[in-house]
């Protein structure tokens, strides 16, 4: 692991520890929890989209699968939340293999369309399979997350838990992208044919990354369900897939930290814009257009470039 990554992780840990002490009220903690939920999905998408160059507009379905697995298994069959979450992950892995195996043979726009269709089917299923999902009215009384006897039913303890999980995933993903697997992913994004001639089993690596990104989305869905204690199909529409892709693009396609920053920015922006009621979507769209227009490769790479430029200037002057 690179030194600056280690420094950033330590810095993030400090911020996470201090934040509850300085947060004015519990609303801030709630927003921080949503940031972590979104970031968990976004860093998974960053591996798939940013590193491997494979797009998915269907990850809302994995989020929904995780959320509804937790919701249904815990309310109907009395599963403990941990087991509900794990079941969601297993289902998502199976679903990702089933969908990913054929879909990942497609490229570019065709892959986008295929995954979009999958996302749409997921949303429609949640809405229409009313005997199982209760349709639009959703599922209530989902238990808060707990690990054995350790109940995480207040905001701060769940906040601590989910940020710990997120930081763990950031740590693992950073290690992965800096290893031979990360190089293989970038090779596939750059030139598939040449990647094969390096001995990379391209189809299998693509599928593994798709599965991995489905796992983080499913986990995020389960955590959402156990935190909000209520799920309905509207939380898992196509717009969520779009949001995740935007987080990765706005933060910086080719970096784990970038997608994390993208998740922070877009989650806060969404919350902030609530105050503008009717024109919030308009401002939201405008912001995204401006960001994409002026810093198309994302916020984090631009900051890095700015830092380099400043350092060079300083060296030049000094």
């Amino acid at each position: 692991m690179a030194k600056n990554d280690l420094a950033l992780i330590s810095g993030l840990m400090v911020v996470v520890l201090v934040f509850p002490l300085i947060a004015p009220n519990s609303y801030y903690i709630t927003v921080a929890i949503f940031i972590a939920i979104n970031a968990l999905t976004a860093i998974g998408m960053s591996l798939l989209l940013g590193y491997t160059g494979q797009i998915s507009f269907g990850h809302n379905a994995f989020l929904g699968l995780g959320a509804y697995a937790s919701a249904l298994l815990c309310t109907r069959l009395g599963f403990p939340p941990l087991l509900g979450t794990a079941s969601g992950v297993v289902l998502s892995i199976l679903m990702a293999i089933l969908i990913g195996s054929p879909a990942l043979m497609l490229r570019g726009h065709y892959l986008a369309m295929a995954t979009l269709a999958f996302g749409l089917i997921g949303y429609i299923t949640l809405n229409e399979w009313t005997s199982l999902t209760q349709g639009a009215s959703g599922i209530v009384n989902i238990p808060n997350f707990s690990i054995g006897n350790l109940k995480l039913n207040d905001d701060v303890s769940f906040y601590a838990f989910i940020w710990l999980i997120l930081i763990l995933f950031i740590f693992v993903f950073l290690n992965l992208v800096n290893s031979r697997f990360g190089r293989a992913l970038r090779a596939i994004r750059s030139r598939e044919g040449a990647a094969m001639s390096m001995g990379i089993n391209v189809a299998r690596v693509k599928l593994s990354v798709f599965v991995l990104s489905a796992v983080t989305a499913s986990l995020a869905g389960s955590f959402y369900a156990h935190y909000v204690t209520f799920v309905s199909p509207n939380s898992f529409g196509l717009i969520y897939s779009l949001l995740i892709v935007l987080m990765v693009m706005i933060g910086g396609m080719r970096s784990i930290w970038g997608s994390f920053v993208g998740a922070v920015i877009l989650t806060i922006l969404t919350e902030f814009l609530r105050a503008f009621e009717n024109i919030d979507t308009l401002i939201y769209g405008l912001t995204i257009v401006l960001v994409m227009f002026f810093i198309p490769d994302g916020v984090v790479p631009s900051i890095r470039r700015l830092g380099k430029w400043a350092m060079q200037r300083e060296n030049h002057n000094g």
């Binding site: 290690n175 697997f181 190089r183 030139r191 044919g193 094969m196 001639s197 990379i200 080719r254």
Partner: protein, 254 residues
Amino acid sequence: MAEVNRLEVSNISKWFGGVHAVSDVSFSARDGVIKAIIGPNGAGKTTLINLLTGFLQVDSGSIHFNDRPINGLRPHKIVSLGISRTFQTVDVFEGMTVLENVMLGSYSLSSTSAFSHAFLFPGARKEEKNLRARAVEFLHFVGLDEIANMEANSTSYGDQKKIVLARALTSNPKLLFLDEPVAGLNETETEKIADILREIKKQGVGIILVEHDMRLVMGIADEILVVNFGTKLCEGAPEEVRNNAEVIKAYLGT
């Protein structure tokens, strides 16, 4: 030294719709020998490489490497048997350094799991260090030590040709397919590549070279295979081929 690595190509054919791209071609290649495949544009040379490295599948005929049939194997399997290749277009991986590009060459030699990398197990870190050292060694071999940490995409065309060569060598090939390794290079750069290829040969690697640069081919090839319209015209030592009437006809059209 006993001959150890041998590629045996028997009567292979490939159709693209109604076009007979490769028709009943047979030849063999072995380690320590540079074999050049020449022929006019569209003769089927690149198709031949694609067939022999698993990027295309033959319609008929067989390919054996060390008596093991390899037709039907996918490219990544063939690499792991010790058959490496480069492409006609320069294809360095963008978004990584020259060193990282060359490190990818030894992907098939590494065996540590994703899990052990994710949690920084000592074995994974040690292997990473070895891969790095190995890549540095091959970068030195092709004379690119100084640009190791440059973005691969931003290096010169000539350097990119060397990067892909070093990358292919890092996989420890017994047989190396090179598709136009000096296309677009000037005379000095071509001479440098020729030296590298001679050195590779000296180390016992077999080279199969597709190239239009006749001076390079005549200068370094031990054997030449001439193809035209997907069929084998003739095969032999450079001198024989140079004086073959059919070859002259195919090239000069008289």
